[in-house]
Symmetry: C2
Subunit: 235 residues, 2 copies
């Protein structure tokens, strides 16, 4: 099953982007008449056939649309980007494969990076979505200060903040087990972790500090571990 | 806390390798008298001070040893290495951070690689162990045919094989919940998945096919997801 990304599949005739056209005709060597699948990134799968295998603008005809039911859990991870951004691209790829709905990059006191390439991040997410044959594309938000993110009115969700600095916090899985929430917001700090003040600020806004266990995980490992546990335990 | 790797810490005077010595004196700029920690990779933590900050052979004096209790679960992942080995190094790094005891590379029918660089793998594991401040180093085994691995007498463990090709398998977490095992052996196939014959062979040897959910995960993502779930659910 070959899946292509097309945000707008309302019309029955769809022309793939130059990049997707090249991938379809040159890399996968698909020909006129071959069946392909489209994902809108918003839950719609379309089954189509190639009407014109033009390697620059490949035209598809949609025959059927399938509306996939939304996922049971909505996970929004807010993460301080690492200095080496490859680690963030890796996180985006893996989190998209496992299933994540939203990613926001945050600027913290110990942050080592205050800029991200949103377009590049979205490219990574799109290819991971296609590769893992999914119908939902995570929403990626630009970088904002932690304070602003914490204060932004978030729809009702279980708000968690990963914090290494204390032994008094519950384990992530215990907090998830206790709760019946379907929406999760998870804060992951920079290499240098959150400051005590940042954690207090988050607590005041309703975030619960959680531990990810004894091991000191890298930022991107902590975030992906969090995705795996939230997505599995909350089911 | 600066952690260095030293397999043999039986003597109170320890000389770091040239690489570790350079890291200690040049990168971390530690000086004579500074306190450092050593991990044997076998559960022993030693607290030492620098007796000679020679950048080529840094000498440490051990003052105290702490024996850490073994982990509750023993996880052995057998995985078909990906063509692009960076993905395996990434898996080794992340699995070591989260906690894994053994990794064996296997050769399957759809394998795209039948050689690995064991030394390189061990280097990645050592640096991840130090970076995540752990006292246990995962054991990494060389590549062997799947059949040989399946038939090798494994100590009593819950044997699982990840398989996408069927909807009749239980979810990984359900199999773990049902079991009271402390030892887990988990088979992860190549990009092209296991063949039906390979799965039959594994089943005959007591392996239970499990699903990792709806999404099609890459080999290394499946393996890491498995580590996170086994390590968390089995606790």
């Amino acid at each position: 099953m070959h899946v292509f990304y097309q945000p707008d599949i309302s019309n029955n005739s769809v022309t793939l982007s130059e990049e997707e056209s090249k991938h379809c005709t040159r890399v996968l060597r698909l020909k006129k008449g071959d069946t392909v699948h489209l994902t809108s990134g918003r839950g719609i799968q379309a089954i189509a056939s190639i009407a014109d295998d033009n390697p620059k603008k490949c035209v598809l005809t949609i025959h059927e649309r399938i509306a996939h039911t939304p996922r049971l859990t909505h996970l929004h991870v807010a993460i301080a980007p690492t200095k080496n951004f490859d680690r963030m691209e890796w996180f985006i790829e893996k989190a998209t494969e496992i299933g994540i709905e939203e990613i926001t990059f945050i600027e913290c006191e110990h942050s080592e990076r205050n800029k991200i390439n949103k377009e590049r991040c979205e490219k990574v997410a799109v290819s991971a979505m296609k590769q893992s044959k999914q119908w939902w594309l995570p929403k990626i938000h630009n970088i904002i200060p932690l304070k602003k993110f914490i204060e932004s009115p978030e729809k009702k969700s279980l708000k968690l903040i990963a914090w290494c600095e204390t032994n008094q916090t519950n384990l992530l899985q215990e907090e998830i087990r206790k709760s019946s929430a379907g929406n999760f917001t998870f804060l992951i700090g920079p290499e240098g972790d959150f400051t005590a003040q940042e954690v207090e600020l988050a607590k005041a806004a309703g975030f619960i500090p959680v531990s990810l266990g004894e091991n000191i995980l890298r930022t991107e490992t902590a975030a992906l571990y969090g995705c795996a546990i939230v997505k599995t335990f909350s089911k």
